[in-house]
Symmetry: C2
Amino acid sequence: MKRISFLLNWYLNPYHIPILIAKELNFYKEHDIELSLLEPTNPSDVTKIIGDGEINFGLKAMIHCYAARSRKYQIKSIGTLLDEPPTGFISLKSKNIKQLSDLQGKNIGYVGEFGKVMVDHLAAEAGINSSSYTTVRVGMNASSAIVSGKVDAAIGLSCFQQLEIENMGYSCNLLRIDELANLGCCCFCSILFIVHEKVIKASPEIIINFIKATYMGMQFTREYPKEAYDYFAEINHGMDKSINQKIFHHCLPFFSKDLLNNKKDWDKVGAYAKKLKLIDSNYDATECYTNQFASNAKQDKLCKL
Amino acid sequence: MKRISFLLNWYLNPYHIPILIAKELNFYKEHDIELSLLEPTNPSDVTKIIGDGEINFGLKAMIHCYAARSRKYQIKSIGTLLDEPPTGFISLKSKNIKQLSDLQGKNIGYVGEFGKVMVDHLAAEAGINSSSYTTVRVGMNASSAIVSGKVDAAIGLSCFQQLEIENMGYSCNLLRIDELANLGCCCFCSILFIVHEKVIKASPEIIINFIKATYMGMQFTREYPKEAYDYFAEINHGMDKSINQKIFHHCLPFFSKDLLNNKKDWDKVGAYAKKLKLIDSNYDATECYTNQFASNAKQDKLCKL
């Protein structure tokens, strides 16, 4: 049995259920893997910790994978967990923020470093002076920052933070970043399985097994969502988690059914990352991801499910 | 700046505030440390991950340090965070569990492997047949397992899980393990700062700095508890956290004021670990901890606070 520490991109939440299922139903164990799931307290730590080779496996959004590569962190995506979850500026309806220009004079929350880059770029493209708004780093606290009034709007997912806020009785507006930036998809925010490249070189068989087991967890989650959620509810500490069921139902459509990296998305986000000056204009995206593992995930033990 | 990943023993909670304060008030930064705080999803992973040398710094209870050493994990305590927090079998008052023998016929929750060893040992000492009760591994979910009726009682802290349950409107009984086992203290459950020994050899200066900064965080927390709690509330995601303030107030008396390892406690818990057969009868406890770092923590920059 090989123990793997796996660093989540966020505190444990319903979109991690496919991984949790693969762990709880012993799919990892059957593939000779003991999986230790860790949560960050600051999502911006993830690419550093995996890039430093301290922990070998984790999750991170596509745009951050580009940013990390440009900083010479040797991380690579081996597959997709969450495909293009709708992402944008969430605000209380009472704030009346309906277009980018409405953000002038406002406090705008973002998760970490590159969220700020995106805000500033969107504003600049729209001719909004950066002195006319204030950016506030909110980490994993977008929802509470919005509700408490600490920020007027914050970047978040419609299938997560927006639901949390609505669940507290507020109506929300969402300005989708893919629309504001003419991206055509929210793939910059797709959540990917990443590894340090040294693992690909030294132990590809572990990645093959990891992906196969994860694929089984994904398939179970998509085919038996009620049972999958019940495992999550059982494991996740804390009592007041009714909101999690809503989040899970809204995340279901965005789970990647084959775990594959999508070349088209990588190309789009690569172009966007170049615009944001996160990577050089001649940067080759193909070093950021590989499908050598996910393309074979399907073959294993489907009959078990 | 040296980046350190630090693996908490539990999800981020109020007894971690001294560390959080040292991070938020830049005490670590001033000591040339960038601290990445990670949470486990399974507390039993912590000694493995640090013992494997994957992550170098973390927190764990004293009894687990002994257990880890006996498994050849090269971890060592460099100081104390939480000193003897009262620990025992928590149950709803309606269950009428007032003495050990009342646990017969009951489902008893424990966190991880060594909790079960303690339960079985206590029962055996009291002449209770192990077939007359059922042990249930509940991880970090003792409170919800007790309230939902999944277990009749579970091991937890009076300054944490018992408060959570009472906060939901239930009355509790607590059977203290130190009293049941005639230990004289709950030091087996003291929460310690642990490192992999390779760090002590390779980079003692980093540990010196880590402990100095942590000491400043501890001092701030004990002297300015309101301000310290406000930082925590700000950072900790989630909305419904009023219970955390109660937990914090009840944890305050148990924070170690000097971070020192207590030899007397190590000796007591060593004797207990021998009884539990976690370590050999001739085992030398002194390899489990050192005060070479904490004994100098006080000298630095006190005037700043």
